[in-house]
Symmetry: C2
Subunit: 224 residues, 2 copies
């Protein structure tokens, strides 16, 4: 199997969730059946939201580029990043190493049904348009929450460790509201991937799509 | 904070448990409060049990040494390994890099009360004597299960993904049995750390001791 390097820590709990889902995605009888990873759990990547929404703070791009180089030095054969918002910095990551990058957006959009997609995602994902090109070419149309504040508050709450009952209730309300305006829901924030148990409607979780792409690469089902 | 390199994947679920406990050990308001790690989640480390107990299979030592070099190349400032049995290969790991090694045995034995310690651990830990020296100098005396087979079966069960109610019941029985022969219990197998919820008696979990040592190093409370 081929080792995949993970640009992680955005947030650290979402990175752990990716690792857990990868474990569950592989039928295993012993350790050796599992996917090899090198995980850069770097919680000190400068805030993507502060940079992209508020236009302030340190640029995360050079930090992510350095992480890509670290992962290649450690022996990773491809890179993946369980943070949708940070995909706004993919050009800097790709330029920093010679490894293939398993893009969560491409992996996700390929699985979406056509039509209106209710986005359960950070306002930073909308403002930076990271999903726009891939969704447009797939014939899907993103629909966004009318008010950014509750989504952003929920994401910050999860980052502070709050994925308990209150967060689940807020997630359910957000999903209900977005489902009324769309044909299918897309969880495109890995912090919100921690709360998918609260969603009653049909949905796709971008983190699951990345899990599939990582497993396929590691097991050699995709080209180098 | 200083990044700690984790020699992981033995098994992969125990490595994830270490990461979760590190998250919970740090009071955090945002991502950046958490401990930076580079995690070598390598499920292909040759079986420690096969090599140490059955005397067969590939030597895990060179693989662990290569992982230590990978982690140093990626920027880790110290090494730690959430697998008690694999501490039998610590000399090879230390020789492979110039980084300090945060030894789980030392961190654990320092916290044990004196007296008889009921070992909830792999027979490989007994056969290799990895804890013997540290426990002797601390004035504690290990007491081992009379029959290796049930413990080994339980560990293999967890490695195959079984940490459900049946495994918890077996863990509770094992703890009851060992508590009758000792003053304090020690979980010295990170697979069994997944089942500590089943233990009714006072116990120390070596994984928790490693978490404390990693957090202290990362936060600069221990020398380089």
């Amino acid at each position: 199997m081929r080792t995949v390097g993970i640009l992680g820590g955005m947030g650290p709990e979402a990175t752990i969730l990716l690792m857990q889902r990868l474990l569950r995605a592989v039928p295993a009888r012993n350790d050796a059946d599992h996917i090899p990873l090198i995980v850069h759990q770097n919680p000190a990547v400068p805030s993507r939201i502060a940079r992209l929404i508020e236009g302030q703070g340190e640029d995360p791009g050079p930090v992510l580029a350095a992480m890509a180089r670290d992962l290649q030095a450690a022996g990773a054969k491809a890179l993946a990043m369980p943070c949708n918002t940070a995909h706004g910095f993919v050009p800097q990551i790709i330029a920093a190493s010679s490894l293939p990058f398993l893009d969560m957006r491409t992996a996700t959009v390929a699985t979406l049904p056509p039509g209106r997609v209710g986005m359960l995602a950070s306002p930073a994902v909308r403002l930076t348009g990271v999903f726009d090109e891939a969704m447009k070419s797939a014939g899907t149309e993103p629909v966004w929450p009318q008010d950014d504040a509750p989504v952003l508050a929920l994401i910050q709450r999860v980052k502070a460790g709050g994925s308990g009952p209150d967060a689940m209730t807020q997630m359910a309300q957000l999903a209900d509201q977005m489902a009324r305006q769309s044909d299918h829901l897309l969880v495109a924030c890995t912090e919100l991937s921690l709360l998918t148990g609260a969603i009653a409607q049909p949905f796709t979780d971008s983190l699951d799509c990345l899990v599939t792409a990582i497993a396929a690469f590691a097991q050699g089902h995709t080209p180098d």
